[in-house]
């Protein structure tokens, strides 16, 4: 049989593999517009809410009597409320919005069922609101990062499924055969959260795990959410926006593949502190895998460094690249700091100090939020086909955010190490705790700076959305009330 014969089984008929033609970017953006506006605007509102609660908690260190009469606003409730509003209200929500947009754009297809995504987003926000109010009302479960009461957790979970399902379907309907790097990360992230959230909630609240098992599960969940999920989405955005905005190829698909598998295989084992009162193999495994996380950080950094040709992203004129550059820098710092402080000799000093808190906040605000800001500042004008109403505020936001992150992260790190060294030879605990106050004051200034930046973000985002829909409403009104031309009325 002639192998070149049209019916030959050796010839792959291209036509049988042909996918429908790519959808134009405008059409994709139009399909994403409303769901993303809902997600981003509510995320911005939650971000500000989290800042407000965080500030209340922060002020209590300087004036313990502040709002102390109200049970709803005691430190033990305000602080978890702030963390949950930040995590579930902002990080996951805005991250999902960016993820859905990237999935649609990279798949060259419209977002599947935008209305269902909106319903999912509403369900999610209802859940977060119920959760934050529940925490303030005293219904916290007491597990770190999982404080939301069961009814709120169920709503949050349902909302996520409703959004992620259409994300997976968008991925399935893609019209570009070759997958880009970011798609691996996003696809993994879509499945990662339901897995960890349902497992942690079911085991802790459903089956009622007892004793040290509770702490182990809560550590596992926090690590998987804060280290794995945030990195999956954040790195997807870095790998997408850096080459796109520079109009270059990403340096190496294999380096990205290495970062991906290192993250998937190793990062999810971390999080159990070296001194945890559990059988020795658990914290030891955590130490080893956290140190191996350095490879992920190096692989990501080298890849981006080679893509930009060694130029610093923070010094580029594009504000999105500035934000993403700051996010990448924080990612590198957090990665190395995690690896070093995982080692038992160092962990002994830094655990139970402000260093750990500072590192966690740097991961939220320095890495993830910065990358997401950069992404949103690019995406939203694309969706709207309009500029932000206050372009200067975007730059101002970058500088306040970057300065704010520096101002809280550096004092907390330095103060935390000093505190940890003093605690090694503890004389009077209260004196050591008091000694950290100057550092806390500096970090409150950082909090304030960041809160200011968040206001700028909300103003610009809200302004653009308002401007866009106002324009639409006006033109629709003009169209509806326009005089009917006689020629049209009587054909």
């Amino acid at each position: 049989m002639n192998p070149n014969h049209p019916k030959s089984p050796f010839i792959i008929h291209n036509s049988s593999f042909n996918l429908p033609p790519s959808v134009a970017p405008d059409v994709i953006d139009a399909s994403c517009r409303l769901p993303l506006v809902v997600l981003f605007l509510s995320a911005a509102v939650w971000l500000l809410t989290a800042s407000a609660f965080g500030l209340i908690a922060s002020i209590k260190f300087h004036a313990p009597g502040f709002l102390a009469d109200s049970a709803w606003l005691t430190y033990g409730r305000v602080r978890p409320a702030a963390v949950n509003a930040m995590l579930y209200g902002f990080c996951l929500q805005a991250g999902l919005g960016v993820a859905l947009w990237m999935l649609a754009r990279l798949g060259r297809t419209t977002l599947a069922a935008p209305w269902m995504v909106i319903v999912g987003a509403l369900c999610w926000n209802l859940g977060v609101a119920a959760g934050v109010v529940g925490i303030l009302g005293g219904g916290s479960t007491g597990f770190e990062n999982l404080e939301m009461p069961a009814y709120a957790a169920a709503l949050v979970f349902l909302g996520y499924l409703m959004m992620a399902f259409w994300g997976v379907l968008t991925f399935h309907q893609r019209r570009e055969r070759q997958l880009y790097v970011s798609q691996w990360f996003l696809f993994a992230a879509l499945f990662w959260f339901p897995w960890i959230y349902s497992t942690a909630n079911l085991v802790l609240q459903g089956f009622g795990a007892r004793g040290m098992a509770q702490a182990v599960i809560a550590w596992w969940y926090s690590d998987n959410l804060l280290v794995v999920w945030l990195a999956l989405v954040g790195l997807a955005a870095i790998f997408y926006f850096v080459p796109k905005l520079l109009n270059r190829e990403l340096h190496s698909r294999y380096l990205a593949l290495m970062a991906f598998w290192m993250l998937i295989l190793f990062a999810s084992w971390g999080g159990i502190p070296a001194s945890a009162p559990v059988p020795a193999w658990m914290p030891t495994l955590s130490v080893v895998t956290t140190v191996l996380g350095v490879i992920t950080v190096i692989a990501v950094f080298v890849n981006v460094f080679r893509t930009t040709g060694g130029k610093c992203l923070m010094r580029m004129s594009n504000p999105s690249l500035k934000f993403i550059g700051a996010g990448l820098a924080s990612f590198v710092v957090v990665g190395f700091a995690s690896a070093v402080t995982a080692l038992p000799a160092v962990n002994q000093v830094t655990q139970f100090t402000w260093f750990t808190i500072g590192k966690g906040l740097l991961n939220f605000y320095g890495f993830f939020a910065m990358v997401i800001f950069g992404a949103i500042y690019y995406i939203v004008p694309q969706l709207m086909g309009q500029e932000f109403p206050f372009p200067k505020l975007v730059r101002a936001h970058f500088f306040t955010a970057a300065l704010g992150v520096l101002l809280f992260a550096v004092p907390l790190a330095v103060g935390g190490i000093a505190q940890g060294l003093k605690l090694q030879h503890a004389v009077i605990f209260a004196d050591i705790a008091k000694g950290t106050l100057p550092f806390l004051r500096a970090s409150t200034v950082g909090d304030l700076m960041m809160a200011l930046g968040h206001v700028m973000f909300l103003v610009n985002l809200g302004g653009l959305v308002f401007q866009f829909y106002r324009g639409r409403a006006l033109s629709a009104w003009a169209e509806a009330t326009a005089e009917i031309k006689t020629a049209e009325a009587r054909p």
Partner: protein, 200 residues
């Protein structure tokens, strides 16, 4: 679709979706990965306690294990401190310096450091009358504080006294205490300094 112009000033003009280059992994990162993996396996082997659910703090060497053992030769020593602070410390002081005019010190005391057969007798039946301790004259009425203690506790507390605060005398064994108890029978009369000095 949308007739409005694409944004140009704030964000970059719309560009094609990104693609990834096919440049292979640099060799050094693979070497680094395997070095870290090697370290990880060695480290895990040292500290994991063999996956045992009962090992919380594995020791890497016999030297480290020995560090956590009570000092050899004086196994009663640690318990002796507790007994001392409960029974003796109130009068003789946790520093072993005693109370001026009431309770003699143990530090550099010829009674505490001397013949254990005399020392063991004091807590078993008490002590009364004038006594010379470390160059000072005391007039005592010490009750039989140790009569109710079991042999090993009494041996531990006496060893503690003889080996603390710079004292360096031989340990007292439970067997010695038992022997002295048998010798004095059910004596309740407190000793005097002369009676004790007569004992060898």
């Amino acid at each position: 679709m949308s007739a409005q112009p694409r944004p140009s000033t704030l964000t970059a003009a719309e560009t094609a979706e990104p693609r990834a280059g096919d440049i292979a992994l640099p060799l050094w990162i693979i070497v680094l990965l395997f070095l870290l993996l090697y370290w990880g396996v060695v480290y895990f082997d040292q500290y994991s306690g063999g996956f045992s659910p009962e090992v919380y703090m594995p020791c890497r060497s016999t030297a480290e294990l020995a560090m956590y053992q009570p000092p050899a030769g004086a196994p009663e020593f640690a318990g002796g401190k507790t007994v001392y602070e409960n029974v003796c410390g109130l009068c003789h002081g946790t520093d072993g310096m005693g109370k001026p005019g009431q309770a003699p010190p143990f530090v550099n005391s010829e009674w505490a450091l001397g013949n254990p057969n005399r020392m063991i007798r004091i807590p078993l039946a008490g002590l009364t009358g004038p006594i010379q301790v470390a160059g000072q004259q005391y007039n005592l009425a010490m009750p039989a504080m140790g009569a109710a203690l079991p042999d090993d506790d009494l041996a531990a507390v006496l060893t503690y006294i003889r080996q603390s605060w710079g004292n360096k005398a031989s340990a007292v064994t439970p067997e010695q205490v038992k022997a002295v108890r048998a010798e004095i029978g059910n004596r309740t009369q407190p000793w005097t300094a002369e009676q004790l000095n007569a004992i060898q």
